[in-house]
Amino acid sequence: MTDQPLLSVRGLTKHYGPRLGCADIGFDLDEGEVLAVVGESGSGKSTLLSCLSTELAPTAGTVRYRMRDGVTRDVFSLSEAERRVLMRTDWGFIRQDAAQGLRMGVSAGGNVGERQMAVGARHYGQIRATALDWLNKVEIEVDRVDDAPKTFSGGMRQRLQIARNLVTQPRLVLMDEPTSGLDVSVQARLLDLIRGLVSELGLAVIIVTHDLAVARLLSHRVLVMRGGRAVETGLTDQVLDDPREAYTQLLVSSVLAA
């Protein structure tokens, strides 16, 4: 363990031509820490996540990551090959639409096995055993291992996506609204699963959500965004129970009580 944070973001700015995606975002993330990024639609949450995952090149700012060898490097200074290796080994990305994060025509086992094979696993029996183990962990019946995810329900697809991403034991997982579009009981089980895996594996997570309940349940810290800027940041309970900024107060008071 070092004193350096796992991920360090400074001054991250993204312009889409004259339009602003996000501006001057900065935060640190330690190992095992869960950061929720909340805000309304169009507040720049997804732009921020795309920049962090290097899918978009930011206009300005740095994203520094402490690699497994302990050296902290700017992810945008990595070569494309290094970056792709990082993305499929040490990082995970759970997408809102599972169809984008999975190969819908390839069996569940193949989906989980892809990352293993991408990092050089060439033993079918071992690949399959690991895939079955992970399906078990994310509560998918193991006899569905040879079914394609297009035959899966929405909740199962999200769980499969989690298995596919976690199989290489990443240290940082980015999640983009992983529970939206699911009904509440499925949502609750999925959140339970994520919370269990996060604490069990000591994952650092950045989760983008518009659902404050998800943020409260999963995250240690919260970053509130509005109009592309971070308006408030702090410990989750503190921000949600005692919001300082007017916008955060509005956001918190807008939540419907069941």
Binding site: R103, V106, A118, R128
Partner: protein, 402 residues
Amino acid sequence: MSGFAGASSLPSGEGSRVGYAPAGATGGGDERIAASRHTPPQTSPEEREDIAPRETGYNFAYLDEQTKRMIRRAILKGIAIPGYQVPFASREMPMPYGWGTGGVQVTAAILGPDDILKVIDQGSDDTTNAVSIRTFFERTAGVATTTHTAGATIIQTRHRIPERPLAEGQVLVYQVPIPEPLRFLEPRETETRKLHGLAEYGLMHVKLYEDIARHGEIATTYAYPVEVAGRYVMDPSPTPKFDNPKMDRCPALQLYGAGREKRIYAIPPYTEVRSLDFEDHPFRVQHWTTPCALCGSEGVYLDEVVLDDRGGRMFVCSDTDHCEERRSPNPPPSAGEGASRSEAGEGLREARAHGGADAGLFASRAPLAGRPPLPTPADAGATLPREGGGEERTEGRGRSEP
């Protein structure tokens, strides 16, 4: 670029052929090809009256010289980067896509007046496609054609690699429908190019994984992906995987042309070609329990021929030339074989009659540069790797990967 510069001395003008001879390799292969050129070929247009003389109004081998140069540049780049798909400006050909427009363009670009062309489709010299393409070049280039594998300098093929081992100086031209091995898993060309560029081939194994998960074994039987020279993963066109081991360290130059997809790629002679597999599901080739019903060959690729509507069927060699050659009492007339070669052929036939069928075929797979192009009877007698019963034959090479 050094490889490119070194190779650029090969095809430089009208009618020259892309040949390849490694330094010091002046073995029997070259002599044999040279000899075959002096032998009056079987179907020389001047001798045969049923073939019209070379058509006037067309450039030699149909394509104009600028186009041929463009294709040769693509071929040279392909040879310099084994397995890499080189884009080229594919032309309209007087035949539909899917009938071998890519192969025809490659052949046209490397064809010289002295070449002897053989065209096969599914291993056969006399199917429509093969006959048409052969006649096309007889008429537009006036070149000699043959059906004998050993006598040909250029062999254009769809699906099969001839059973007779190819020799140095020969060129095998494949007609490729879909050159991208990753296409069915990743539809975006931008992405597949990136995957090739970064040598990220995990996806290819996902396909093989799916095969095993669904069928219990790697069920891909044709277009079986190979890794060329330890770098690029390549689709060997729809050849049966039975022929994959023949591509490994083949003394002949192998060129691939995909007309519709506008790609050319190549395997230079003596290049390592490894079929992808899993450690616990190694690459295997098909195996037949019966020999060829016509010539008795074992260890060759067989076609099933339905004889009647009562379930009658027979299995015969897919390579018609190989089958005919084994059945004919005399050595092939234009095979470029001297007297000594004929004796060797007789000896080999005898060895085969004594149960050593095709031992030479497999023995000659061994990666030995400078070996004689065809096995001697002594070879055939010494190394008879007869395989037991109904088991599949595993490709007998060590793996470099753990």
